[in-house]
């Protein structure tokens, strides 16, 4: 496992290319940033596809050892099934966001350099690089660096427009994220002190059921929860995600929160797979369940569309945390259900990323066209922006868990696992969450589909191409539901290779 595998260089490219793009864009500056990003998109996208293909074909993780120095001396990057899935999702979502944002952050005629476009394009690829580093990082310190990079890349995106309100939201986000990072780092230090390594593979073989591990795991998990905005630590998310420009909101809500979630998954399922504690897992599940109910009810209460979508993210994050009670094999006799829950959780992460990004962009288009995003003023919207409303509806279908969407697959699998493991209480929450999600999605669709007698006054026209991008992304969320169940087992099999290594010293 410490040796590099064929195709390992792809992992380095996946991280280094966006980082090189950041430097290049800053170096060239001004009007060239956009071009650098546009040139980078297809290349990085293809690399993500290539990695996924290699993982799929070989049925084993792809690894790359930096400089040939095996851990614990060196640093290793590794792509398992889960990484590959997240890499692909990231590539798809980032490409869609870039195409969507192009007219908004286009270089203006006669202006050499504008602040907002430059910052946006540079940070877009910076966030992409940071996310790829998180998906691929093989040791906890590299992951810490990637996490910080992600935070500092995402924070300025919140306040791109420079208004006081969004600045306040961004600072709130930054402070809370830094608190989370501090807790995470504290846990990392404890682990290093106790076991002398931070490589995930080596740690998995060395960790013992003892206070040092418990405290470290508790600190790291709590810190990462704060960064993921799991209830009750979600305070920073709604103002930040609702205040950012639509393209940035899509990136933040769809992908950035998944970064810190992914680290919790790595910690629980790869670092300490055999020691995952049933009580702690249940507690994470309880927080997730509370998030589903709380976030959905608040989404139902919002008067503004972007806030509604942001609170929906609070709710949907909750589903991800049901993974811990359902997929950690410490509970229940039915081990095979763990795999199903795991696959369901991963599909939930993927389909939420795609659907939520599409939803935020649709909300952005609606806001641009109407000049406001008050739901009460949406009467007759379906007639003026049919494609956008359709995109919103399709991504809403995925959030509700209607077939044939990815959200349906995810919920069906989580439900099946909950029933199979006898933890039926999660099933009740999942269903209730679906009903509430239908409530907040239809709150938007109902006025939009109603035929307003008067033509809705538009303050700007939005281009058909941007509408098409959003619709295409929403359709991707639908396509996820068509992923055949059997091959999606590679998510669970290859994804949990760390678990398999526990037995092998």
């Amino acid at each position: 496992m410490s040796a590099a595998t064929p195709g390992g260089f792809l992992l380095v490219l996946a991280i280094m290319l966006p980082m090189a793009g950041v430097l290049l864009a800053l170096l060239l500056g001004g009007r060239h940033a956009e071009r650098v990003v546009m040139a980078l998109l297809p290349v990085s996208g293809l690399i993500a596809v290539a990695i996924a293909v290699v993982v799929w074909r070989t049925g084993a993780p792809v690894a790359y050892v930096m400089g040939g120095w095996a851990p614990p001396l060196g640093v290793v990057f590794r792509a398992d099934g889960l990484s590959a899935a997240m890499l692909l999702t990231t590539a798809v979502v980032v490409c869609a966001i870039a195409l969507f944002a192009r007219p908004v952050f286009a270089a203006m005629e006669g202006v050499a350099e504008a602040r907002a476009p430059l910052v946006f394009w540079v940070l877009l690829i910076a966030v992409w690089g940071a996310l790829n580093a998180i998906w691929l990082g093989g040791d906890l310190f590299t992951l810490y660096v990637a996490l910080e990079l992600l935070t500092f890349g995402a924070m300025p995106l919140v306040c791109l427009d420079g208004q006081a309100e969004t600045l306040r939201a961004a600072l709130r986000y930054l402070l809370f994220a830094l608190l989370g990072s501090a807790l995470y780092l504290l846990g990392v230090v404890l682990l290093y002190g106790a076991y002398g390594t931070l490589d995930i593979g080596l740690l998995a073989g060395r960790v013992r059921d003892e206070p040092a591990l418990w405290i470290a795991a508790a600190l790291m998990t709590a810190g990462l929860i704060a960064k993921t905005a799991l209830f009750p630590l979600h305070l920073w998310l709604p103002p930040a995600h609702a205040g950012a420009p639509a393209a940035a909101s899509a990136l933040l809500s769809g992908l950035v929160v998944k970064g810190s979630f992914f680290l919790i998954v790595r910690l629980w399922f790869n670092v300490m797979p055999a020691l995952a504690n049933p009580w702690a897992a249940q507690m994470l599940g309880v927080l997730g369940a509370a998030a589903i109910i709380f976030g959905s009810v608040l989404a139902l209460r919002q008067a503004r569309l972007k806030l509604l979508v942001a609170y929906s993210t609070v709710a949907q994050i909750g589903y991800l945390f049901l993974l811990f009670p359902l997929a950690s094999n410490a509970i229940g006799p039915a081990l095979s259900w763990n795999g199903i829950a795991w696959t369901g959780g991963v599909i939930q992460a993927m389909s939420h990323a795609v659907a939520k990004a599409a939803m935020f962009m649709a909300a952005g288009l609606i806001g641009e066209a109407l000049g406001h995003d008050r739901i009460a003023g949406f009467g007759g919207l379906g007639r003026v922006l049919p494609m956008t409303v359709l995109a919103f509806g399709i991504s809403g279908m995925s959030l509700m868990g209607l077939p044939p969407s990815g959200g349906f697959m995810a919920k069906a699998m989580l439900l099946a696992a909950a029933v199979g493991e006898g933890q039926w209480w999660w099933a009740v929450v999942i269903l209730l969450g679906g009903v509430l999600a239908a409530g907040y999605v239809f709150r938007v669709l109902m006025p939009a589909l109603a035929g307003g007698e008067l033509a809705l006054p538009l303050c700007a026209t939005v281009s058909r191409r941007r509408e098409a991008v959003v619709l295409a992304l929403a359709l991707c969320a639908l396509l996820l539901g068509l992923v055949p169940v059997r091959p999606s087992e590679w998510l669970s099999q290859i994804g949990r290779v760390g678990a398999a290594q526990v037995s092998a010293p």
Binding site: L183, A222, F294, R301, A412, V419, L432, G434, A450, G451
Partner: protein, 541 residues
């Protein structure tokens, strides 16, 4: 080959939907609406026993037409869709929002046809969701405050029903050995399922909400009258039958389940009589028709219940027969309301007389399809108390339908020269004729008519006396009906709406809680608390 027939039944409406996206073809689609269900009709006639699994790109839908009564329901449903399609294509000519209407119409049609053919759990859930959700567009089409309220209530019950079904299907999939998702296998494994009670309860709740079993009937008397005439016809006629096919496909009739069967029968008769009691206080003809649908579905639920209690798989076909009769009659009567509204003078009788026959057909008027339907359900209902309740429900139906006829006579145009477009009158008369003729044809094909002895004096008398009693009650209602309390449309829904207001006010608690959680000190303390509790949990484990 017959499998392909099934696929084309779904393919044509979908193709028309896609054609509607092209601006060039768009104008032609509304006129072609009646053609959309034709392949489904052909599939019902010649595709029995067929099965097909579509490729994954086409959602991997698995279709089949082997359940008893499925082909019957499919064929007659397609027939009503054709009639209603004719009506809709004429009515749409002067309609403002016709684009929207056509899209929702075709979507509802696709789902409705599909539920009769779906062979596995996922396909069924998908198509059932399509018909349920798309029907919202038809209910709320008018865009008035009334239609929007109806749409909201409809959606609330529908989404709830979907959640019940999803859970039921997950239970069923788990209990099926070998990982098969076929409905056939899932139902066969249901009696031995460790979650049998939960599954059955969820199935009854889910499909019961679609069929309008009390108290989940609340959406029907609100939603069906709010929709435009052709939409009401298909909603009350066909869409409701998605629940019926659900019961036919999913209830394990091969097992003897007396408790469950008894409970379902009880709920069914409560529904049947409750709907009559509320229905006779209504003053809108379409609302009365909706309550009649609720009542009829209650009787059908009682039939299912008796079948379940006796472990009699034959009840499925009988129920399907009862359902298709109701389907045609109710569809035709909704069209009658539309035609009556545009007719005046002596032409009125061209509406009222056939409508009277159809109305009494629901109560079992001899020589009509309803007579046959009542005759067929006699066996499962038995001759005891349940059989008596069945007969009394006919009395109630006669009363309710005569009340409907009185209201229908008042909606006719004041202008004596007014006349409905010929096409609309023609469609109405054709549908009315089919409602009488089709049950006879089906009867002749499926059963040995001579052996039933339907025209024996005893049988005829037992069909007539409930009508006479109903007639007497209707006269009494006409005289003293004014003293009855006026019950709002959807009866208990008013209570539910008040409850919703209270709940909404309670949700303010969440908003205040969110504000509190947004304070730095609180958030900081919570962050530490989460870390400590997690650590403590690990320590404890």
């Amino acid at each position: 080959m017959s499998g392909l027939l099934l696929a084309t039944g779904l393919a044509l409406p979908v193709a028309m939907l896609l054609a509607y996206l092209s601006p060039r073809l768009r104008e032609r689609v509304p006129a072609l609406l009646p053609l959309a269900p034709v392949p489904a009709l052909v599939a019902a006639l010649f595709g029995q026993g067929g099965a097909i699994v579509l490729p994954r790109a086409l959602l991997g839908l698995s279709l089949g037409l082997d359940a008893p009564g499925a082909a019957l329901l499919l064929g007659v449903a397609a027939l009503l869709w054709i009639f209603a399609g004719f009506y809709a294509s004429t009515w749409l000519r002067g309609e403002a929002g016709r684009g929207r209407f056509v899209i929702w119409w075709l979507l509802t049609l696709t789902g409705s046809i599909g539920t009769f053919m779906a062979a596995d759990l996922v396909s069924f859930y998908l198509l059932y969701s399509v018909v349920s959700l798309a029907a919202y567009g038809l209910v709320a089409h008018d865009g008035t405050a009334r239609a929007q309220r109806a749409g909201t209530i409809y959606m609330a019950v529908t989404v709830l029903g979907e959640a019940f079904l999803l859970m039921a299907f997950v239970f069923m999939a788990q209990a099926t050995p070998g990982g098969s998702l076929l409905i056939r296998d899932a139902v066969a494994a249901l009696p031995g399922s460790p979650w049998r009670a939960a599954t059955l309860a969820l199935l009854v709740l889910g499909f019961g909400s679609k069929m309008g079993l009390v108290p989940l009937h609340v959406w029907m008397p609100v939603a069906h009258p709010a929709a435009p005439i052709p939409a009401s016809a298909v909603l009350s006629g066909v869409a409701v039958k998605a629940g019926v096919i659900g019961f036919i496909r999913f209830l394990p009739f091969a097992a003897v389940l007396p408790v469950w069967g008894g409970a379902l029968t009880a709920v069914g008769f409560c529904t049947a009589f409750f709907a009559v009691a509320v229905g006779i206080t209504q003053s809108n003809a379409k609302t009365v028709l909706a309550y009649s649908t609720v009542s009829q579905m209650g009787v059908l639920a009682a039939v299912f219940g008796m079948g379940l209690a006796a472990g009699d798989p034959g009840v499925a076909l009988v129920a399907a027969f009862y359902a298709v009769h109701h389907l045609l009659v109710k569809g035709a009567l909704f069209l009658a309301v539309g035609v009556a509204g545009a007719s005046g003078g002596r032409r009125v009788w061209l509406v009222l007389l056939p409508a009277l026959v159809l109305s009494l057909s629901l109560a079992g008027l001899p020589l009509t399809g309803g007579f046959l339907a009542k005759l067929m359900v006699k066996a499962p209902l038995g001759s005891g108390v349940v059989g008596l309740l069945g007969t009394l429900s006919s009395v109630g139906t006669a009363l309710l339908m005569l009340h409907f006829m009185r209201l229908l006579a008042t909606v006719t145009a004041v202008d004596a020269t007014a006349s409905a477009p010929v096409r609309l009158s023609g469609v109405w008369l054709a549908a009315g004729f089919a409602a009488v003729a089709v049950p006879w044809c089906v009867m002749a094909v499926l059963w040995d008519v001579a052996a039933i002895g339907m025209l024996a004096p005893g049988a005829v008398w037992s069909a007539i006396w409930p009508l006479l009693l109903g007639g007497v009650l209707a006269i009494a209602l006409g005289r003293w009906g004014g003293r009855l309390p006026r019950v709002p449309e959807g009866d208990v829904v008013v209570v539910a709406e008040r409850l919703a207001t209270v709940v909404r006010a309670r949700a303010d608690l969440f908003v205040r809680m969110d504000e509190m959680l947004g304070q730095w000190t609180v958030a900081g303390v919570l962050l530490l608390a989460v870390a400590i509790v997690l650590g403590a949990a690990m320590l404890a484990g």
